[in-house]
Symmetry: C2
Subunit: 206 residues, 2 copies
DNA sequence: CTCAAATACGAGCGGTCGCCCGTGTTCGTC
DNA sequence: GACGAACACGGGCGACCGCTCGTATTTGAG
């Protein structure tokens, strides 16, 4: 439906699309979606407005492509972190480390991703592109919890996964905003919160 | 400084200001700040654009007044919840109940308040009006923690307060979005998360 | 009752935005 | 080397935005 009717792209064109996405991500992160004009995106990407519209039918499509792009990168970066095998061999601390650390790394190296995916300053379609990611993350966390604590009911497990993901998301902005020792301290605090929430449910000890 | 040079308002005028604020809150909650036009606010409030600008010098002033208004209501609603007296007499569960329940009530009865105060889709001045609230809440939570767990260092206490507030804020949207038993279940889960985070620090037992 | 102040109106100004289109240029293919 | 498709340009259109202003009406104080 929203399929943009595949146009044969040349290498030049694909590079320009990447340029547009880079410029858009930077500007969205700086000023938000609404405050960023398409002319500004084109200028930052080093092209004319007309050229920009050769690759995207409208502004919203840029946001959607950007969301999809980030979602893919995130998925790729975290596929290993959610491996449900050997989940019972690890201590809960180790398990939390394995899931939190890559998330922090990704969010640090992609500032503005949060600004895009978590912001209400967005057209509806863009949220639609982000929701599958959130659901996917929650599902995978639920799968890990299922492997770890099989005694939980499905409802309890899903609820615990949702709450865990929200806690992580809530701590991400301050973690990304600082560096070094401060970041490590905040990350440690996030892990303490997760541990405190999950440990009472856990049957496999510390 | 931003003091709008007190104009003698008649009762009619004060009512109109309230109408404008109501309309703006509803529209901001529905569509966000940027997507809401001043003409739309005026129309929803049942007046002409010219009349609206009799009471507010510009759009940002509306957002600021709205923020201040909500902040005041929130402060009033929570002043009792943060009473640091008798903090040591309560169990940690009771203490958490006392602080979480009024917050949930307020957020339920003021949907869109979050949309305003937590959104990046806002002029800088509006964030400036919301930050004092957040800081005030964190400070008061820190004061309660101080009374409850005096052994904590200042840095640890402030950190714990910040994390606690973030956890509460993170769970608020889904809590507000549902009703009845579901809402109670989510609220209970929030309290479990808070308890799990704070209990390990607490010296006064369950 | 009078009158200045407060309130109310709404057409429309100046500006910006998303986007189009006419035109010219570069690329891949044969 | 020729040719069509992809790419590139940028002036500017139409719509809408925040906001103004000239004017008309209502209010409360004296």
């Amino acid at each position: 439906m929203t399929q943009p009717r595949a146009v044969k792209r040349q290498a030049r064109g694909r590079q320009r699309i990447a340029d547009i996405l880079d410029a858009a991500l930077a500007l969205f992160a700086e000023n938000g979606y609404e405050r960023t004009s398409t002319n500004a995106i084109a200028a930052r990407a080093g092209m004319s407005p007309g050229s920009l519209y050769q690759f995207f039918p409208n502004k919203e499509a840029i946001a959607e492509a950007l969301s999809t792009h980030l979602v893919e990168q995130m998925r790729a970066a975290h596929s290993s972190a959610f491996d449900p095998s050997r989940v019972t061999d690890l201590t809960l601390h180790e398990l939390i480390d394995r899931m939190v650390d890559p998330l922090v790394t990704f969010n640090v190296s992609h500032p503005g991703a949060k600004a895009l995916l978590a912001n209400t300053d967005m057209p509806a379609g863009t949220h639609g592109a982000a929701r599958p990611l959130h659901e996917a993350v929650v599902d995978r966390v639920a799968a890990v919890i299922q492997a770890r604590i099989p005694t939980l009911s499905a409802a309890e497990r899903d609820l615990a996964a949702m709450v865990s993901v929200r806690i992580v998301a809530a701590m991400m902005p301050p973690i990304v905003a600082v560096e070094g020792a401060e970041r490590r301290a905040l990350t440690a605090e996030l892990k303490k919160a997760l541990y405190g929430y999950i440990a009472p449910l856990d049957s496999a000890g510390s």
